[in-house]
Amino acid sequence: MRRLVEERLGECAQIETRPADDQRRGSRRARLIDPHPCGLRPERRRISRRRPADAVGKLATLPLRTLVASIVSTESQHMSVVLGDLGRPQVPQPFVTGPPPQPDTS
């Protein structure tokens, strides 16, 4: 995943994982470092601070949007396999990203 995201963002992106933070937070979040003036700062911020599913909503780079969406799919599949091994429902909700926003009726 890291290699592909770096390819998509070009030389502007170098991803460095933070093992200490990862362990502390129990997550696999990655941080993008070494900023260059390539106009990609918003994309870096979106990837680094949000879950991938949220990032897809915000990303402006079209190929990166597709890539992250396919990663979300595969991560959802991993979750489904693990849930099955735990004897829990494998497809627990209609949207892996949580309930969609309701239209404003006010």
Binding site: A53, S70, S76, S80, V81, V91, P100
Partner: protein, 178 residues
């Protein structure tokens, strides 16, 4: 920085052309988003009709029947959201197909053929969502589409396990257009 009179006149003259080009690009993006969402909706509606037919056929065991009912309900929610998304875009929505009009459904005679049918349908749906994601301009519709696609990918896992196949055969699930 100051403009010469000639530059100012040229800028004013070019403004409508630039606005027209912008509007044309917006129209193209809008049409692309509508087409992509419509294709996803057609596939979700097909899944709803087909899974209901399969679950009610009495040809499946208890667990597969329950799974097809669950998938039918979830795909129904997806279809509802897509209808709302299309309505937001001011587009017409499609109506669900008749059972007889769904290719391959008539050939479903047992659990094995039902699972094989559903695997193909889910793969096509995932591919349609993935094609739609870049075209969608509304952040909420895009996020909802990715959420539905993730759930369809999970349904695919369950179906592959029922077929005794590798549930996650690729690091990037992209579905299939076959």
């Amino acid at each position: 920085m100051s403009l010469t009179r000639r530059q100012a006149i040229a800028a004013v003259a070019a403004a409508p052309l630039l606005l027209a080009a912008d509007a044309s690009a917006d129209d193209a993006r809008h049409a692309q988003a509508v087409a992509a969402l419509t294709q996803s909706l057609e596939l979700e509606q097909t899944a709803v009709v087909a899974y209901e037919a399969i679950a009610n056929s009495g040809r499946l065991g208890l667990r597969p029947t329950a799974l097809f009912r669950q998938f039918r309900a979830q795909d129904g929610v997806h279809a509802q959201q897509l209808v709302m998304g299309l309505q937001q875009l001011g587009a017409k929505t499609t109506i669900p197909p008749r059972r007889a009009a769904i290719p391959g459904l008539a050939q479903v005679r047992d659990e094995r053929s039902a699972v094989a049918f559903a695997v193909v349908l889910e793969q096509r749906t995932i591919a349609a969502y993935l094609a739609a994601v870049p075209a969608l301009t509304d952040v909420n519709v895009r996020r909802t589409s990715v959420g539905a696609m993730g759930t369809d990918a999970q349904q695919l896992v369950v179906l592959r396990q029922l077929a005794h196949e590798n549930p996650v055969p690729t690091p990037f699930e992209r579905g299939s257009h076959r």
